[in-house]
Point group: C2
Chain length 408, copies 2
């Protein structure tokens, strides 16, 4: 007997992430990689953290090492409430739950809403990690198309026909992973209208929200819904935030802001699943956020913004005709659509001939489409390397187009 | 509409833990409390952690703040493999997964094995947090009675009659929370025999394993099974360990040791649910474990051992006839059975009249029994306070017995 014979049915939906397996191969030395979607560690506030950590251990070491409450460290929840207020979201500390990164919030929200067969609406493409978090709860997926004006009754009817109920729409409205795109205010209002019509929740993934490089801030969906309703406890939008893209991913500190009935149930889930996020980490993040969040984020915006610009310019210089790409206002990614080539074939060729890596887009689609797309990350590359990388990518695409044309 | 209308069915099984709600009341100043089951923060290696943390930030700060692999920090997994070898469990680093406390391991194991209605065998009483972790996966519970020689075919038949399948037996064999009791080797072998007959997994919770104060170490269930089979990958026992009771609970570092097919699936689960445990915490725990685990645990054994002894002696001095209690060889708890009184009534009386707190035992039973039991923790109280506390407890029990007898 082998124990995998008695694993629960949900494990059938939990596969190794293609992209993570790929990243292990791609990040080998000598490869010019635009694959990993991670912050540049050279930009971490390492010295500030070292100082804050020493102070936490000096003044409050025993509390930092002891069990603490499932809701999260109160001074940090208060700081987050202040941060959310600046995004137009007035909330109290008891409408905030600290999670171990916003990834954990996505897991909890899947667990909170999804019985097997329930419908989750996701964009195509969407954040791969959201699919990974939701899959163990065995949802049915349908497409969220904020710009296409898909009628709510069609979505509801398709769900009913599948014996399913729509539980939530999940989206990242600002500089989404993987496309880098931002949903405009009309699109956000349309998602809220749709959620009202479907009587479902909205999960707004704000992981990249702070990293805007140009253009004007668009109000978050939660801010827009709050403006309609006047009371966060009446809102159906659940906002997930993270310090991973601003201060540090490795400390695993994120948060959820939502109506109290949602937070209360999530606190029970947190208690049952890992008791609480590490006390020490919350205290250290609080100290650094309090002393330098704005300054640090301003620096990140300048540096990442230059890299983003450099990538867009290099794409303009080096891409052959027919290749299309997004023009992000923030975040870490540019999304390419190829005129005909398969992005997995292109990756094999780019790796073999040009020591160049990126992520084929297919993994970001719940329905297995997207063969002609790929994701480029500009977060970790200097501007000269970006130009060199895009030149190689252009050459690789031309090779394949020529090869396809010539039958070689 | 309120979002709780569309919560998944599993949320019906996720209630606020009585004991946690109680602890908020009980730990108020002026109360002499034996309720909280937490380590004494005065015994934390706080200075060692402060030094280790400073060194981690100095030498490897960027890696400590960056994303890392879902499996866990390799040097820590290697240290744990060495630690397990000393428990008679030869294993490789890829048979170890780092979790955020062993609580997270219990959540993952529920998620791994339990479809709604599947049977989990648990002792009565059992660790409350295990029930909390398993409940969202909607199991049926049946009793694990290692000493009662319950026939596996009876357990299997009861499961079949309920349309259920037995997936695992969960137990803490050493100094269990809440009873403090240790299962002898014959009992452990019997659990393994039963699991073979039922073809189910065994989850061995080793949270308190290192805290032995007297008597000889009993081999873990996993070591016994490994001795039978010679290959960890052939074993059905899954061992969960934790640094929470030895080094620090607040850093949330625990582990699972199991056969590779189990670890591989748990790694996918970890990736989907929170990506990885905090890089920094794993590095800091590794540094402190490497430099002083044995010395630190030896100190804890001396101090907690004296407190345990003091409580047993004080119970002998102060308990009225008819009260029974366990005589733990380690851990943090003594378990009392009252001759007739209800422990919740006793708590109300003890709080009101004696400023004394403990935890009524009922919450530790999956089947709602145990009204006549209570848990005392000796981990955080000095020896003089223990004597005073047990004197008050004896008086409170006598009051209630007198009251019951006299009808007052």
């Amino acid at each position: 007997m082998s124990l995998d014979q008695i694993f629960a049915a949900r494990t059938q939906r939990m596969k190794a992430s293609e992209i993570r397996e790929l990243l292990k191969l791609l990040d080998r030395p000598g490869i010019l990689s635009f694959a990993g979607g991670i912050p540049d560690p050279e930009l971490f506030p390492t010295r500030a953290f070292a100082g804050a950590m020493a102070e936490v251990m000096d003044h409050d070491g025993r509390a930092a090492l002891q069990y603490s409450v499932s809701e999260g460290y109160l001074p940090l929840r208060r700081w987050i409430a202040g941060h959310m207020a600046r995004l137009g979201i007035a909330c109290d500390a008891d409408q905030v739950l600290i999670t171990s990164g916003s990834q954990q919030a996505l897991d909890y929200l899947g667990k909170l809403f999804l019985s097997p067969g329930d419908t989750a609406l996701v964009t195509a493409p969407t954040y791969l990690g959201a699919l990974g978090a939701f899959n163990p709860y065995e949802p049915r997926y349908d497409r969220l198309e904020p710009r296409a004006n898909r009628a709510p009754q069609d979505i509801a009817q398709a769900a009913r026909a599948a014996g399913s109920e729509v539980k939530f729409a999940y989206l990242s409205a600002d500089f989404a992973n993987p496309t880098g795109e931002t949903l405009d205010q009309a699109g956000r209002e349309a998602v809220l209208d749709m959620a009202e019509a479907l009587d479902c929740a909205v999960i707004e993934d704000g992981a990249y929200q702070a990293l805007r490089y140009r253009g004007r801030e668009v109000p978050t969906l939660l801010a827009l819904e709050l403006a309609r309703k006047g009371d966060l406890d009446a809102c159906r939008t659940i906002y997930t935030g993270s310090f991973s893209k601003t201060l540090s991913p490795g400390l695993r500190v994120g948060w959820v802001v939502a109506a109290r009935p949602v937070i209360r149930q999530l606190v029970l889930m947190k208690q049952a699943s890992d008791l609480h996020s590490p006390s020490f980490n919350q205290m250290a993040v609080h100290a650094v956020a309090q002393s330098r969040f704005d300054d640090h984020v301003a620096m990140l915006r300048r540096v990442y913004g230059r890299r983003c610009e450099a990538m867009l310019e290099a794409l303009g210089r080096h891409m052959p005709a027919g290749v299309r790409w997004t023009r992000p206002d923030g975040g870490m990614f540019v999304w390419l659509t190829l005129p005909q080539a398969n992005a997995s074939d292109l990756l094999a060729h780019a790796l073999a001939q040009y020591d160049l890596a990126f992520v084929p887009g297919r993994a970001f689609f719940a329905d297995g489409s997207g063969d002609d797309t790929l994701r480029l990350s500009f977060s970790c590359a200097g501007e000269a390397l970006i130009d060199e990388g895009m030149a190689r990518l252009g050459a690789a695409i031309r090779d394949l187009a020529g090869g396809a044309g010539g039958g070689a």
